[in-house]
Symmetry: C2
């Protein structure tokens, strides 16, 4: 009987430990979600989804591109996006084009200035469970990532576009 009690205690302890680590890792996952740490290869050759401009401090000019899986999902209006979808937002400064304005004879033209950063959304519903199935990535123009405090702002904002599976950009025909 004593041996059985020991054995039960051992099982209970083990179960408790497993339960504890599972909870701990879930908590850790919620507190420090996994971000995209490597630039997806070949993104500059991907197809065009749409363009965007943000005023104010961002002053950005964006081209949003998608890999084959993402493009097919956009075109077929597949929601949620399937695993393997990757969306890239190439950000540049939004700058007036003096050379264009000179030709046009008036100030009207804005073009992509210096590249500032590239942001990615990588769909992997297993790996990125805690952030809606999307892994978020941000790489400055030198290829470097940014700190977790910055990265933690991605998901809460994107989550507000729940009806479009966290994707802001609409496909431009």
């Amino acid at each position: 009987m004593k041996r059985i009690a020991h054995w039960l205690l051992a099982v209970a302890t083990l179960a408790g430990f497993v339960g504890y680590t599972a909870t701990a890792s879930r908590h850790a996952g919620q507190e420090a979600p996994t971000f995209v740490t490597k630039i997806p290869s070949g993104y500059r050759d991907w197809q065009f989804i749409s363009v965007a401009h943000e005023e104010g401090n961002l002053n950005s000019f964006a081209a949003v591109l998608g890999n084959d899986v993402a493009i097919a999902a956009f075109r077929n209006r597949t929601i949620p996006f399937p695993d393997g979808s990757i969306i890239a937002a190439l950000h540049y400064r939004f700058v007036p084009s003096e050379e264009n304005n000179k030709v046009f004879g008036r100030d009207q033209s804005f073009v992509a200035g210096a590249p500032t950063n590239i942001q990615f959304m990588v769909k992997d519903s297993t790996k990125y469970t805690s952030t809606g199935g999307w892994g978020f990535g941000h790489f400055n123009s030198d290829g470097k990532t940014v700190d977790d405090a910055f990265m933690k702002t991605c998901f809460p904002c994107h989550q507000k576009m729940k009806e479009r599976d966290l994707v802001f950009t609409r496909y431009a025909p």
Copy 2:
């Protein structure tokens, strides 16, 4: 001798006629250059060159895409662009995004609105000799071309970008 004179006259006349028609067709070519009358197939799958925005009456948001030949020329800085290069400018209305602004909590976001037209530059130095080797095309969102009076304005304006082989857009890295 009289027969030879006649024959010489005939040759001279013929040569003169040929010369005349060649000149006439060159003149006609200058006055009414050939435009691109058919939308190049597959353009929506082409790769991204850059973005642009024109203020004022145009109020346009453009994505500029290129076929493989054009993309290679942009990346290798090949000037003039080789025959076979095609550049597409997909134009949309430049509109504020109310749904984005709502999420961001401030008015800052502009996106591609309704498509307005697509413009093409097709490089064929034989076919489009009179317009710098480029054929210009403009297709409204219904796929229809526009009148020659409008199309004749393309070349004189693009010609001002001679050092870049008539191409306004610079490649965005």
